[in-house]
């Protein structure tokens, strides 16, 4: 139903500048007691070439499951991609065999995770982990790969890269490990870089370094980035476009500046008002009452209805659709009618 919003342009052009197209993605988890957790429930979005798109949401919103679905790293059972399509440059990822998919991972899609300690193997040196990736994906000879590994470490800012290749992950600090992860992710020059909370475990001064590095690397390698985060500050810093997720669905989509200047969805609005802003003084923060509903027990109507200050009768009966709003924005809320209409309550 909601896919019509994407069909605005003829598909030929669409393929040209969009890198990733996710349509109607549903990833469910079948739990032991017979319940179904709709972790990702009808999610559609696209990422253009060279673009940084942020996927924002609280824990349990489905943002990480969305990224894992794109990589096809959902553990099954209990999880399953039930429906939908994920196209990378027109190639349907959901139709690939596991073997083919493992070539896409690392080669065409690189990943950076939140905790660089657990994503690096503690028993191998930094160098051998980068070399492995280069030999596997780029078919390089060992010697060549080793040289390239040192080169990559220099690019991500290690002055003494020749030493770092011989060190083990535990000898590095969190920020340094995250640099190594970025080096590994970029080693194959991926078209899409998925960064899942890349700076959450880091201190602010280190976070600034890593974000800066990510922006530099993105420009240097021309890759697109899907940034998954709960930190709206990070989003404002690096993203071009933002997708806000709540209860397994996208509730708002907007260019980054528009989102921060003029949030449409009541959830986005409340979220922005509930974070203390370093440049503003407020006596009291807005807060959103209640908590995120669990994925196995979403309310019948709008998933935000119970916490929304503008809630209307219809919100409890029917889940609103994600509708287009001023050509470049989308919002899932009954307060808005198609094309810029604002009903009431605001």
């Amino acid at each position: 139903m909601q896919s019509q919003q994407i069909n605005k342009e003829p598909s030929t052009i669409d393929v040209n500048d969009s890198l990733l197209d996710v349509k109607g993605l549903k990833t469910y988890f079948y739990m032991r007691h017979g319940k179904t957790a709709k972790a990702v429930d009808d999610v559609s979005f696209s990422i253009n070439k060279g673009e940084t798109v942020a996927l924002v949401g609280e824990s349990g919103s489905g943002k990480s499951i969305t990224s894992l679905s794109i990589m096809r790293l959902i553990q099954s059972p209990p999880g399953k991609i039930v429906e939908g399509s994920i196209k990378l440059e027109g190639k349907e990822l959901l139709a690939l065999s596991e073997n083919e998919m493992s070539k896409v991972r690392g080669n065409e899609i690189g990943m950076i995770f939140q905790e660089p300690m657990t994503s690096l193997d503690p028993v191998f040196t930094i160098g051998s982990q980068i070399v492995e990736s280069l030999m596997k994906h780029k078919m390089m000879k060992k010697k060549e790969a080793y040289k390239q590994a040192i080169e990559l470490l220099k690019i991500v800012g290690f002055a003494r890269a020749e030493k770092i290749v011989k060190e083990f992950p535990h000898q590095l600090s969190g920020g340094m490990r995250q640099r190594v992860m970025i080096a590994i992710a970029l080693s194959c020059n991926p078209k899409l870089l998925i960064a899942d909370e890349p700076t959450t475990a880091l201190d602010v001064t280190i976070q600034a370094q890593i974000l800066n590095l990510m922006v530099d690397m993105k420009e240097r390698f021309g890759s697109s980035v899907l940034l998954i985060t709960h930190d709206l500050g990070v989003v404002a810093e690096v993203a071009n476009r933002v997708l806000v997720m709540y209860g397994g669905q996208i509730v708002e989509e907007a260019p980054v500046k528009d989102l921060f200047m003029d949030a449409k969805h009541p959830y986005t609005e409340a979220l922005l008002e509930s974070i203390p802003n370093i440049d503003e003084d407020v006596e009291r923060l807005e807060s959103i009452p209640g908590t995120v509903p669990p994925a196995h027990n979403f309310p019948q109507g709008c998933r935000f209805a119970d916490r929304c200050k503008y809630v209307m009768d219809i919100c409890r009966e029917e889940n609103p659709k994600l509708i287009e709003h001023n050509s470049n924005r989308k919002v899932r809320c009954f307060l808005y009618k198609e094309e810029g209409g604002f009903l009431s309550g605001g």
Binding site: E58, S59, M261, L285
Partner: protein, 330 residues
């Protein structure tokens, strides 16, 4: 600020941890987690302590509530030095000084019901009978926005925000004067963070509490604090009224820290100061000013002499040679 009544005085507090030989290579034989820290906490205020991981802020908090013994120094609570007090003598002060922990998932015993969790401190004090105790528990739960139904439930039945409310309720049972909160909202989702921050502010007004609020999140600390102290490698590098610290940071580290915060403001994007490298290890801190290895303004003196925390205008103190007289006067 000067005429305000002091609740707590921290004098030259130090905490050194010995390093086991053979396990970790290191030239030094101890980690100076907190190294000669002095400041006051005034009645009714919230003092925020910010710093990055390894700066010693949590160790400082734990020493102040006496969960950990200091290596050296004094903690003066309402005129009494409580640092050297033994378990028994400390008893009278325990109820005045409470702590709220970071992880509401780990700090509540999963096998105890909420009523027991909150009621335990009251039971130990033996001042109430069973019925009064039950009333008191309901009263406290009400204060933190939970209903009496919670009493018979276990911690796992609550969400993160509710658990942190339980943690706060537990700290409140003894009617404390002072609460040290170590990263109380860091583990919570953003939409829930503000609920807990608002609750803490309400309780402060209602019960006339004094807070030590420890966090790595500069925006949160700015929101809740009256005064702010900035820690780096076990020392306070700058401390003063919130407005001064945030509007006119003097120490280069504070300046860099503030500029590193990602902002959601698109009009006045601030100039970023990117610090080189990582904080040095506290087991082998640099000589002189601990920050000189990353400081964009470092000069010769910084590498030799450690700057003292010196009071400048308006209650703002800073430990930096950029602001000290050519020779130090203590």
């Amino acid at each position: 600020m000067g005429d305000k009544e002091k609740l707590l005085e921290i004098r030259n507090l130090k905490k050194y941890f010995p390093i086991k030989k053979g396990l970790i290579k290191g030239r030094g034989n101890q980690v100076k987690a907190v190294d000669d820290v002095s400041f006051n906490i005034y009645k009714g205020e919230t003092l925020g302590i910010v710093g990055e991981s390894g700066s010693g802020k949590s160790t400082l908090g734990r020493m102040i509530v006496r969960l950990m013994d200091a290596t050296e120094g004094e903690i003066v609570f309402e005129g009494t030095n409580i640092e050297h007090l033994g378990t028994r003598q400390m008893g009278a002060f325990r109820k005045e000084i409470q702590m709220v922990f970071q992880d509401p998932f780990a700090s509540l015993n999963p096998r105890m019901r909420v009523g027991q969790l909150i009621g335990e401190p009251i039971a130990i004090q033996k001042t109430f009978n069973k019925k009064e105790r039950a009333e008191k528990i309901i009263d406290i739960l009400g204060k933190v926005g939970l209903t009496a139904e919670a009493i018979t439930k276990f911690p796992h039945e609550f969400s993160g925000g509710q658990r942190q409310r339980i943690g706060i309720a537990r700290a409140l049972t003894m009617n404390p004067k002072f609460i040290a909160a170590d990263e109380p909202v860091s583990a919570l989702d953003v939409s829930v963070q503000s609920q807990v921050l608002n609750l803490m502010q309400d309780l402060q007004d209602e019960l006339n509490l004094t807070y030590l609020f420890i966090s790595h999140d500069l925006s949160v600390v700015k929101h809740i604090s009256d005064r702010v102290g900035v820690m780096y490698l076990g020392r306070i590098v700058e401390i003063g009224p919130k407005k001064n610290i945030y509007d006119n940071p003097m120490h280069p580290y504070t300046q860099a820290l503030l500029s590193s915060i990602p902002v959601t403001n698109f009009d006045g994007k601030r100039e970023k100061i990117y610090l080189k490298g990582e904080p040095p290890s506290p087991s082998d801190p640099p000589k002189g000013c601990a920050f000189h290895t990353r400081c964009p303004n470092a000069f010769n003196r910084c590498r030799i002499e450690r700057p003292e925390l010196i009071l400048h205008d308006d209650g703002q103190s800073v430990a930096c040679h950029l602001y000290s007289a050519p020779f130090t006067n203590v």
